[in-house]
Structures are given as structure tokens and as C-alpha cells.
């Protein structure tokens, strides 16, 4: 099975490079991309019971202008129990602030923390966490 990947990040260049890295890695499935965490949240709310639409893995940016990664996670945690499958969430950030990594470590929903730049190697490593 090809994993379904979701990227939430407001940076369009990052969206472009990540998409490229994923397709270069041979993953044919289309990547779900959200520039805005609220739009993403709306999607998860609507499709919360739709197994086929839900991604297997989310790469979530922390620093976004309107709703940031943390705020997204707060709201996301509430709808997680409704999902018919498990979703791995990775925080992606260019921040090396220890406060951010410490905070992430305390949230069980988060599978890992990825420092930008996002690379092929980091993609494979993350995908290896998906149980199928």
C-alpha cells in the first residue's frame, strides 16, 4: 500500500520541495497539502470517518500565521478518537528552540520532530513508523 501523506505548512516553497521529494521517492499517491491549519482541521472534521480520505501521516509545521501547529494539535486531539485508523503526526519546523522540542515531547499524539530542511532520508525514516 502506498502511504497517504498530508502536509500542513504555509510556506509555498516548502510545499513545492516536499511534494517533489515525495514524488522522487516513488510515492504515487497524491499529497494532501494545506497552507492553513484551519482549513486542514475542517477537512479532518468532515472526513473523520472516511478511511479512504484520511492520510496515514501528517507533516505539521509549527509556525504558521493564522493558526499555528500547537493550536491545530489541540483541536485535532479532540477528533482523533473518531478516526477509523491511526495517523502518525510529525512536527516539522526550522526552529531549534528547545522550548518547542520539549513541548512536543510531552504530547503523545506526536510521533516525532523533524528539523527543516525536509529530506528524502527524513521522509523514509518517518514512513517506517507507519504500521500496516
Amino acid at each position: 500500500m502506498t502511504p497517504k501523506i498530508c502536509v500542513i505548512d504555509d510556506d509555498t516553497i516548502y510545499q513545492f520541495t516536499t511534494k517533489k521529494i515525495i514524488s522522487n521517492a516513488g510515492i504515487k499517491e497524491e499529497v494532501l497539502i494545506f497552507s492553513d491549519a484551519e482549513n486542514a482541521l475542517e477537512f479532518f472534521n468532515t472526513e473523520s470517518e472516511n478511511r479512504d480520505k484520511l492520510p496515514d501521516i501528517i507533516f505539521l509545521d509549527i509556525n504558521m500565521p493564522f493558526m499555528d501547529g500547537w493550536q491545530f494539535l489541540d483541536a485535532f486531539a479532540k477528533i482523533v478518537p473518531r478516526f477509523p485508523k491511526s495517523i502518525e503526526v510529525f512536527l516539522v519546523s526550522s526552529s531549534v528552540d528547545e522550548a518547542d522540542t520539549d513541548r512536543a515531547a510531552k504530547i503523545p499524539l506526536i510521533s516525532g520532530y523533524i528539523f527543516k530542511p525536509f529530506t528524502k532520508e527524513k521522509l523514509w525514516e518517518s514512513l517506517s513508523r507507519i504500521q500496516s
Binding site: D11, T12, I13, Y14, F16, T17, T18, K20, I21, N24, D36, N63, P65, F66, S94, S95, V96, D97, K116, P117, F118, T119
Partner: protein, 507 residues
């Protein structure tokens, strides 16, 4: 001896004499012309310790104090024999117990009517106690004078009306006067005034007998006109009825102590202000560093990803696309860098040159600068700076602030309604506040209140806010001791309150 008296009572002379002398405190004696006792009244034992019979036939010169024998001879004995009358002498006499007592005598010459023989008649009393008291008083007076005049503590005696009766050199020197220049002045003439009321209140309480003394710190007027600090203790001296007759003030010079105390307090305040401003700056710098590293790291990591992708492909179309993105990232980097430079410029306080700025003038300059855009969007602007016409601030920064706030309002105007901006100034105490309101889309403060002044935070979709403006305004206001506040409701607009610190040209 008047014969009439014994005639009336019918007693013999000797009996009368005995009666009189035994109850009298006067020692009555009769002497030969050379002084030899021929009669000593019976109360002698009470006064000088000897019985009369012990003295009869003896010469009093043997009992006079050696230092006074000659004096008695010359000033009393001889003149008496020459016929001078009523000679009073004061001398020391050897008591039987071996100590000298002070006697005062009234002496007279008696001449026998028939033989013409001269006799001396003396009447003496013990005045030792009086002499002692007087001597002690004189000594006490001398001691007091010495203490008063030589005391290193300033001393002033004032009468009950407040006029200075006496002062010592310490106090006179303290005020730069000679003591005679101060005597006669009223104490309020040399008092600096500030504490006079407190001083008078205490004096009043002393007057009423509520208290007997009080201590205060007060300022005197030095002869040179400057004020000097002193710690004074005022004690009241009362008469037997309890009415104040004099006030004794003890004055300690605490001018140096007060001066260093004031200096210390000032330094303390300054230190606290510095610490506060350093803490604020430190916090801002930390936040700033975090922001810088984030905003530089993001485009740099994009550059790395794009270059990696470029290496992996030979597809020209794809390379072209990556190049376009590289262009965008480079532009972003340039923008971030120029923002950083302008931020650093503002952070450098050497650039901050405050002056008296006319708010009206600065606002007009900015409006003029944005005339085109404001007209195009039909922005309605009202301003009223009559509530506070000037502030002590940098003109350049004030204009930057107005520019940023106007841009902010334009950016967040509520679609479908004409933007209205209202700016006014008013005073809160010594502070001048400028309020800047618009009827734009506002901001949800409950949600974003803590982030609104952060660098590169924007809260609206589809609007490219750099977020630098508000960050800089807050930074600048805080670094000069001012404050910025925001009040807003989503959909109803926002009001920014700029509280400028009380400014002065002398600082």
C-alpha cells in the same frame, strides 16, 4: 540692753538674756578690745560646738581660719576700734568637731559709760549652708557655661516667644555666623521653612504640656543662603508652675549624611530603572534572536532543498521551475535581511534623539506621504491633538509609528465599508497618550492578544503582513519607558493607545 523690757516682765537681765539667746540662732558674744571672750551666749554649743565656759578667756583669733585672720583684723577689728559702725564680716570659724563653718557677724563697739573701757559686741550666725549652695550654683553655672560653649553639638537657648537668647560656636559655625550675629534672631529666620510647620506643631504641644521634648530632622538656612540638614532635639525648661520659660535645642549636623542618603536613593532609583530597562531589553533580544534564527533558517532550508532537487534532475522544465523558486527564496532572504537591518537600527539607542515634537505636524507629514493611497481608498481621517499638543520623543520614530499604524489600518480594513480613522491625544497625569482608532476588521484579542506585537505574526488569511511594524512600535515605546495597548473586537475595528512617558528637555 533696754532697761524698759525687763522692767515690764519683772525678770533679771541675765534671765532675759538667757531666754533670748537659747532660742535664738544668733551667737551673741562680748569681747575685750583685743577680742578675748568675756561673754558667750549659752546657745554656743548648738552653733559652734563649744560651751560658753570653754571659750571665755580665749581669743577668737585662735579659731578663725588662718587665711582670714588678717582680713578680720584689718577689715573688721581695727575699723571697729576706730569707731566705725555696723561692720559685717563673713569668715570661717573652727567648729569643735574640727571642721570650719561659715559665720557671718554683725559687730559693734560698746564703750563703758563710766570707765570708758572699750568692748566689742558680736552677733554671729552659721551661713555654711547658704555659702555651699551659692558655691554650688556658681560651680554649676560655670560647668554649664563650659559645656554649653565648648560642646561640639550645636546648642541654642530660645525664649518662649522663639527668639534666640544664647547660642554656642558650634551652632554659629554650622550656619556660617558668629554667635553674636544669631543671638536676638527669631528661630524661624534661620529655619529653611519646609519643616517649620512640624516644628511649630511640636512647640505647641510642648507649650500645652503634652510633651517635654521632641526631635526632628529639619533644614536651617546657612548664611550663604543654602539649606543645611540638622537633627534637632528640643527640650523645654519650665518654671515651678510648669510654664515653659526656655527651650534648649541641641543641633547635630547631618547635612553630609542627608546628602549621601539622597544620592543613594537617587542612585537606587536609577539602578532600578536601568535594571528594568535591561530586563525588558534582554527579553526583547531573546525573542528577537529566536525570531531572527527562525526567519533566516526557514528560507535557508528552502534553499538547501531546492538545490538538492536541482542536483537530482536533468529535466530542463523542472530546473526552470526550481530556478523560479530560488528567485523567490532569495527575495525572501533579502526582505528578511533588510527587515533585520531596520530593526537593528531602531534598537540602537544612539539613533534615538528625543525632542519636543508637535504631534499635529508629524501626523500631517505622514498623511501627506500616503495621500495617494488614502484618497484612492476614500479613507476618512479625523484628528484632534488639542488634548496634548507635543511629546518629548524622536520625530522620526513618531512618524514611523504613524506610518505603521496607518498601513496596519489600511491592510485590515473591513471589506465593504469605508475605512474611518480617528486620532487624538490626551493627558493622563504627566503622560501624553495618543489614541489611534479604525473601524477595520479588528482582531480577536482573546485568541491573539499575546502575539499581536510579535515579529512576523499576522492573523488574517490572504493578507501578507510582515508583522514588523507593531513589533517595532512596541519595542521603541518600551525602550523609552512608554507603553502600547490595543483594544479591539473582531469586525468592529481596533484602537491602539500609545502612552508616551513624561518627557523633559533637561534629561
Amino acid at each position: 540692753m533696754e532697761p524698759v523690757e525687763n522692767f515690764l516682765v519683772g525678770l533679771p537681765d541675765s534671765e532675759i538674756l538667757h531666754l533670748v539667746t537659747s532660742i535664738s540662732r544668733e551667737l551673741v558674744c562680748l569681747h575685750e578690745a583685743d577680742g578675748t571672750y568675756i561673754y558667750v551666749s549659752p546657745n554656743s554649743e548648738k552653733i559652734i560646738g563649744y560651751k560658753s565656759e570653754e571659750l571665755i578667756g580665749k581669743n577668737p583669733y585662735d579659731y578663725f581660719h588662718p587665711e582670714e585672720r588678717r582680713l578680720i583684723q584689718e577689715r573688721s577689728h581695727q575699723p571697729l576700734l576706730r569707731g566705725e559702725d555696723n561692720i559685717h564680716t563673713t569668715f570661717r570659724f573652727l567648729h569643735k568637731n574640727g571642721s570650719y563653718i561659715w559665720l557671718q557677724s554683725d559687730n559693734r563697739l560698746t564703750i563703758h559709760p563710766t570707765t570708758g573701757q572699750k568692748y566689742l559686741h558680736t552677733s554671729s550666725r552659721d551661713i555654711s549652708e547658704k555659702i555651699d549652695t551659692e558655691a554650688n550654683l556658681a560651680l554649676a553655672e560655670r560647668r554649664f557655661k563650659t559645656l554649653f560653649h565648648d560642646s561640639p553639638i550645636g546648642l541654642v537657648i530660645t525664649g518662649k516667644k522663639g527668639y534666640i537668647d544664647e547660642t554656642n560656636d558650634s551652632f554659629a559655625n554650622f550656619l556660617g555666623y558668629k554667635s553674636y550675629e544669631i543671638v536676638g534672631k527669631h528661630f524661624s529666620e534661620i529655619s529653611a521653612g519646609e519643616e517649620l510647620e512640624e516644628n511649630l506643631k511640636y512647640r505647641d504641644e510642648v507649650q500645652k504640656g503634652i510633651i517635654d521634648n521632641y526631635s526632628i530632622e529639619k533644614q536651617y538656612l546657612h548664611k550663604s543662603g543654602k539649606k543645611v540638614w540638622a537633627y534637632i532635639t528640643v527640650t523645654v525648661l519650665r518654671d515651678e508652675m510648669g510654664y515653659p520659660i526656655h527651650y534648649l535645642a541641641q543641633i547635630i549636623d547631618i547635612n553630609e549624611r542627608k546628602k549621601s542618603e539622597t544620592l543613594l536613593l537617587e542612585n537606587n532609583d536609577r539602578l532600578r530603572a536601568t535594571t528594568n530597562s535591561l530586563l525588558t531589553q534582554n527579553k526583547q533580544l531573546q525573542a528577537y534572536n529566536q525570531i531572527i534564527s527562525h526567519h533566516l533558517r526557514a528560507p535557508v532550508s528552502n534553499l538547501r532543498s531546492l538545490l538538492d532537487l536541482m542536483k537530482e534532475t536533468n529535466d530542463l522544465k523542472e530546473i526552470r521551475e526550481i530556478e523560479d523558486h530560488l528567485e523567490v527564496v532569495t527575495e525572501t532572504l533579502e526582505t528578511v535581511l533588510s527587515e533585520l537591518i531596520s530593526t537593528l537600527k531602531i534598537q540602537n539607542s544612539d539613533h534615538y534623539k528625543p525632542e519636543r515634537v508637535a504631534i499635529d505636524q508629524s501626523f500631517s507629514n505622514v498623511i501627506h506621504l500616503m495621500e495617494g493611497e488614502l484618497a484612492e481608498k476614500q479613507v476618512e481621517i479625523q484628528s484632534d491633538f488639542s488634548g496634548g499638543e507635543t511629546i518629548f520623543f524622536s520625530k522620526e520614530f513618531l512618524e514611523t509609528i504613524f506610518l505603521n499604524l496607518l498601513n496596519n489600518s489600511l491592510r485590515y480594513a473591513q471589506p465593504g465599508r469605508n475605512l474611518r480613522i480617528s486620532v487624538e491625544s490626551f493627558q493622563i497625569g504627566a503622560q501624553t497618550t495618543i489614541s489611534f482608532s479604525d473601524n477595520g476588521s479588528g482582531i480577536d484579542l482573546e485568541r491573539y492578544g499575546d502575539q499581536i506585537f510579535q515579529l512576523r505574526k499576522t492573523f488574517h488569511r490572504h493578507i501578507s503582513g510582515k508583522g514588523l511594524g507593531l513589533f517595532l512600535i512596541k519595542y521603541k515605546m518600551e525602550s523609552v519607558g512608554g507603553r502600547i495597548e490595543v483594544r479591539s473586537k473582531p469586525g468592529e475595528g481596533a484602537t491602539f493607545l500609545l502612552h508616551f512617558p513624561e518627557g523633559s528637555e533637561t534629561k
